[in-house]
């Protein structure tokens, strides 16, 4: 007979759930509002989402305060793990979402934003990502990942264009495969150790001195493949450009930041101990993945004719660059990862938003795709301000100082130098040089070519409204004046990462 389970509420530490519950409650609220009075304007939902995310942000600040005082907090049967990584990544997730959601307030009407479900799904997705980063339980990671991914597939499909359906189906298929890989990999680790907690797995494996190295490798390969899909690492990246092309520019920008940081945190938790286990194989696999992702994506990006696809490949390359941090696996490199990603989210959201405000409702006859390079030819003559801002984002992505991404880049390369990966540091530097070319290509089109079609410049800001301009202004300011904030960011990030033991 089962004995009654005695669990005190205090030991559950339900407070750890609050940041995830806030967006869930918000999502339910939006659905309920729609039940009572449907057909409301999108601005209502946008503002509600903003409020919910704002509250979420405050809750995160509170847990950050608790972390600073008491260190890592476990909760809910020790499934939840609120450490520095969880808090930092949640900050990025919620912060980027705060910047993303006002992008729905476009000048032109777009189909998906008229549904309240869009916003509800969006909030569910955020909760999913938050769960994913705030645990080291393989099962909860899986649940969070799938919640978020399923919501994201739908968000893409709601864009309601042929290419969007294609993108959603493609992403879904690939995602399903990745989920299969993930569960298989986790199953191997569970079979080996009898636990689904990453720290337990690490302890047991190192206790028996990696006796079943063959099985460990099988598990690692499957987990790496599944995370590779999510992080769009080469060779699992094939879906990325198509999906970015099919989804709206705003959502593509969002996808290049938020799901990836969640993936990075999981990868960091998982590979942290494996890299330090001294099994050379793992290091080699990861090393190859990192270098291939950086280099191949850069080379593909060179030949793109569409700016959005170029940015898609560029974000793959950036992801590869950042994966190097996990390979290096020192406190400095892990801090560099977060610093890089915070700075990257400003710049990348900014550049995708610039594409978003230039989005036309229908494709003009002379253009092959929504954001072909030709479209931007001679932009400086017709709308100099927009061209300058776009140029700024491109320079930042290329890593020209003193713009935001440069600081992330030097800290990352420095961590490679410090970690003893000299060749990797050189590869990273040279890849930045290759990447310079395709960012420059857009600048060349904007500043040095003559307009192909005589337009009045309105096309570049066709979608702009005050909220969108504000978002772009915030991103541009963040990009230019990053050097003022780098020191504080770096100190904060380092403290959080260091105190979580990474």
């Amino acid at each position: 007979m089962l004995s009654p389970v005695n669990v005190s509420i205090e030991s559950l530490n339900l407070m750890t759930l609050v940041p995830m519950l806030i967006p869930i409650v918000g999502a339910l609220l939006i659905i309920v509002i729609d039940l009572f009075k449907s057909g409301q304007d999108k601005s209502l939902y946008v503002m509600l989402s903003l409020l919910v995310l704002g509250v979420d942000f405050v809750a995160l600040m509170e847990s950050a305060g608790i972390f600073k005082q008491n260190g890592t907090v476990m909760g809910v049967f020790d499934v939840m793990l609120i450490d520095g990584l969880a808090i930092l990544s949640q900050f990025i997730i919620v912060g980027a979402s705060l910047l993303f959601i006002p992008l729905a307030l476009t000048h032109k009407r777009f189909h998906e934003f008229s549904y309240p479900e869009f916003f509800a799904l969006f909030l569910f997705m955020i909760a999913g990502f938050q769960f994913m980063v705030a645990t080291d339980n393989l099962i909860l990671i899986f649940v969070g990942l799938e919640t978020a991914s399923l919501a994201l597939y739908t968000l893409i499909a709601m864009h309601n264009r042929d290419k969007s359906f294609e993108a959603a189906v493609k992403y879904f298929t690939m995602g399903a495969l990745a989920a299969g890989f993930y569960s298989f990999g986790s199953m191997v680790f569970y079979a080996l150790t009898g636990s689904v907690e990453i720290n337990q797995i690490a302890t047991i494996l190192s206790a028996n001195n990696y006796a079943d190295i063959g099985f460990v490798l099988v598990g690692v390969v499957f987990l790496l493949a599944s995370l590779g899909f999510k992080l769009s690492m080469v060779p699992f990246h094939t879906w990325t450009p198509d999906v970015y092309e099919g989804s709206s520019a705003a959502l593509a920008g969002y996808m290049s930041i938020v799901p990836k940081i969640a993936g990075f945190v999981v990868a960091m938790r998982l590979f942290e101990f494996l890299i330090h286990s001294g099994v050379v194989w793992l290091e080699v696999i990861l090393y190859m993945g990192v270098v291939m992702t950086m280099t191949m994506a850069n080379i593909w990006a060179l030949v793109q004719t569409d700016v959005k696809r170029m940015l898609a490949y560029s974000s793959i390359s950036h992801a590869g660059f950042v994966m190097a941090a996990i390979l290096i696996g020192t406190t400095q490199s892990n801090s560099a990862l977060f610093l890089y990603w915070i700075l990257f989210s400003f710049t990348n959201l900014g550049s995708f938003s610039m594409l978003w405000i230039s989005r036309q409702k229908n494709l003009p006859a002379h253009q092959q795709s929504d954001h072909s390079y030709d479209k931007f030819a001679g932009m400086v003559k017709t709308s100099p301000m927009a061209a300058s801002i776009m140029g700024l984002f491109m320079l930042s992505l290329a890593g020209i100082p003193p713009f935001a991404l440069f600081w992330g880049k030097i800290y990352m390369i420095s961590s490679a130098v410090t970690g003893g990966y000299t060749v990797l540091a050189l590869i990273m530097a040279l890849n930045s040089a290759i990447a310079g070319y395709y960012y420059l290509k857009l600048i060349v089109y904007m500043f040095m070519k003559d307009p192909v079609v005589q337009n009045n410049g309105h096309v570049y800001v066709a979608n702009a409204t005050l909220p969108l301009k504000t978002i772009i202004g915030v991103a541009a300011m963040g990009t230019i004046f990053a050097f003022l904030a780098v020191n504080q960011l770096l100190e904060l990030v380092t403290v959080f990462v260091y105190n979580s033991g990474y």
Partner: protein
């Protein structure tokens, strides 16, 4: 105000450029001239306030930027950088003042002012990351100037210029990060401050690797053979103002950086690589001189001759003694003035005829006498006629290297004769003989606006050729400090013998140099492992 004069010099043009967006298109030229003149006056004031008996840094400012990673905004100026900063301010001023009819003139002037910020910033920076920041940032305005106002191949030329330099500097950045890491290992804290790095004594193997990493960045910028291929394109396609600034100031960043970074940080590696680099420099001098002789386009002649003279500067730097380095710094100024003036002159004729082929001209001396005179003076200066500015620098550079190797110096000296041949033959083709083309019969002589640029340059060319002491003295003081530091820091016997020990030559040394040597001895106690 004098305490912050360097920051003012750096950021005043940038601020003015931002405000310049609001100035009406018809008044932007006056605005640009006014701003650049104020900047030049400030630079002269800096010279006036500069104490030329002090060898170390003056007017230093120190603001922490990224404390956790040891990045600080540190600027300062010594005899080595002072005159290049003044030169940068001067060239921006006369460049804007003599700017011909240009489309989008507002964008051009705003871009030039931004460029000025980056130029002054590079030469004033005393923190590697701040240096790198301005170094990279200077590419962007130049990219725009070449790409937007250049000739038919402008996009290819500008992108090539950008990517070439960008790649080199990224390798250099890795070198800088290594340097900071070694400093961290030695002292336990991060620092990118150059003066901190000077105190670090590295083992010879590390020095060699780091020297190579820095070399890539600098050599591409100079540009040294075989990395010079971007330069003819950039010069060929750039508008006149772009070529002038590129030749006069931007190329000096590379040679300046050799003196600021490579020599004092890696004295042993500098000695180790002295001969290979000297050979490269001599190939650069002779080969590009020959290429210049084969050109049909007068601008290409000037471009290749400019590369050829940069070779002499490199040779002077790697003489690793006071004469050579002082001479090369003086030659940087001289080369800036002379090749800047030559590019101006080419621009003058291009504005009139829209061609740069020498075969299109001939007999211009009778049509444009004033133009021919100024061109003649500048050409003589470029050839290195005594009593012109170039002579002093070339003489000292070669004298310095003569102490290291007689044969190589002789070869380099031969190249100067080749220089005389191609320059004089170009002059003959363009200016002497009878006027063959009808278009050339009624060409107007240089006008007032062009004279604004050309007359001051001519005066400087002759003045400093006759009386170079005003510049040489402060340069010499700072160079002695650098050489003294190098001698103290060097580890190998060969380096000790190659780099002269200044404390022995009692008549050469000044008090300030002594101080620096003492300082560096103290500091070398905390040497790295």
């Amino acid at each position: 105000m004098l305490d912050h004069i360097l920051s003012i010099l750096i950021f005043f043009p940038a601020l003015a450029a931002v405000l310049g967006f609001a100035v009406n298109k018809n008044s932007i030229r006056s605005y640009g001239v006014a701003v650049a003149t104020i900047e030049f006056v400030l630079a002269l004031w800096l010279w006036f306030a500069f104490d030329s008996s002090v060898s170390g840094m003056q007017f230093m400012e120190h603001i922490p930027l990224v404390k956790a990673f040891g990045i600080n905004y540190i600027v300062g100026v010594d005899g080595i950088s002072l005159f290049i900063i003044i030169l940068a301010a001067f060239f921006t001023m006369i460049g804007i003042a003599s700017l011909g009819e240009t489309k989008d003139i507002k964008n051009m002037i705003v871009t030039l002012l931004f460029l000025q910020m980056t130029m002054v910033g590079v030469f004033a920076a005393l923190d590697a990351i701040v240096f790198y920041l301005f170094w990279e940032l200077s590419l962007v305005p130049m990219l725009y100037i070449i790409g937007a106002w250049g000739g038919p191949l402008r996009i290819y030329a500008s992108v090539k210029f950008f990517l070439y330099t960008f790649t080199g500097s990224l390798v250099m950045l890795v070198g800088m990060l290594f340097m900071a890491y070694f400093y961290y290992q030695a002292t336990g804290e991060w620092s990118f401050a150059i003066l901190d790095w000077y105190r670090l004594i590295l083992p010879e193997t590390f020095q060699k690797w780091l020297f190579v990493a820095f070399f890539f960045g600098f050599a591409i910028k100079v540009p040294m053979f075989p990395f010079h291929t971007w330069l003819p394109y950039a010069h060929g396609q750039a508008p006149t103002i772009g070529s002038v600034i590129l030749a006069a100031i931007l190329l000096k960043m590379g040679t300046y950086a050799f003196i600021r970074f490579s020599l004092p940080l890696f004295p042993d590696a500098s000695v180790y690589f002295m001969y290979p680099i000297a050979v490269l420099a001599i190939i650069m001098i002779i080969y590009t001189a020959m290429v210049a002789y084969a050109q049909k386009d007068i601008k290409q002649v000037v471009a290749y001759s400019s590369v050829s003279h940069m070779g002499v500067i490199i040779l002077g730097i790697f003489a690793l003694n006071v004469e050579g380095i002082t001479g090369s710094i003086f030659l940087m100024i001289a080369h800036g003035v002379v090749s800047g003036a030559l590019f101006f002159l080419v621009g003058v004729i291009y504005d009139r005829r829209h061609t740069k082929y020498m075969s299109e001209f001939g007999g211009l001396a009778s049509v444009m006498p004033r133009y021919a005179t100024i061109f003649g003076i500048m050409l003589m200066a470029s050839v290195g006629l005594p009593l012109t500015i170039n002579f002093v620098g070339e003489f000292l550079s070669l004298l310095g290297f003569y102490k290291q190797s007689h044969t190589l110096t002789l070869l380099a000296g031969m190249a100067i004769i080749v220089g005389a041949i191609y320059m004089l033959s170009a002059y003959k083709k363009m200016f002497f003989g009878v006027v063959t083309k009808d278009e050339n019969r009624n060409l107007p002589d240089v006008n007032k606006r062009e004279l604004v640029a050309l007359i001051p340059l001519t005066i400087i060319t002759i003045w400093l050729g006759i009386y170079p002491k005003v510049l040489l003295e402060p340069i010499n003081t700072s160079v002695e400090a650098v050489v003294g530091l190098m001698h103290e820091k060097s580890l190998t016997q060969e380096a000790k013998s190659r780099i002269p020990n200044l404390t022995k030559d009692a008549e050469v040394i000044t008090n300030s140099a002594e101080n620096t040597v003492e300082n560096s001895t103290e500091n070398s106690a905390e040497e790295a492992h």
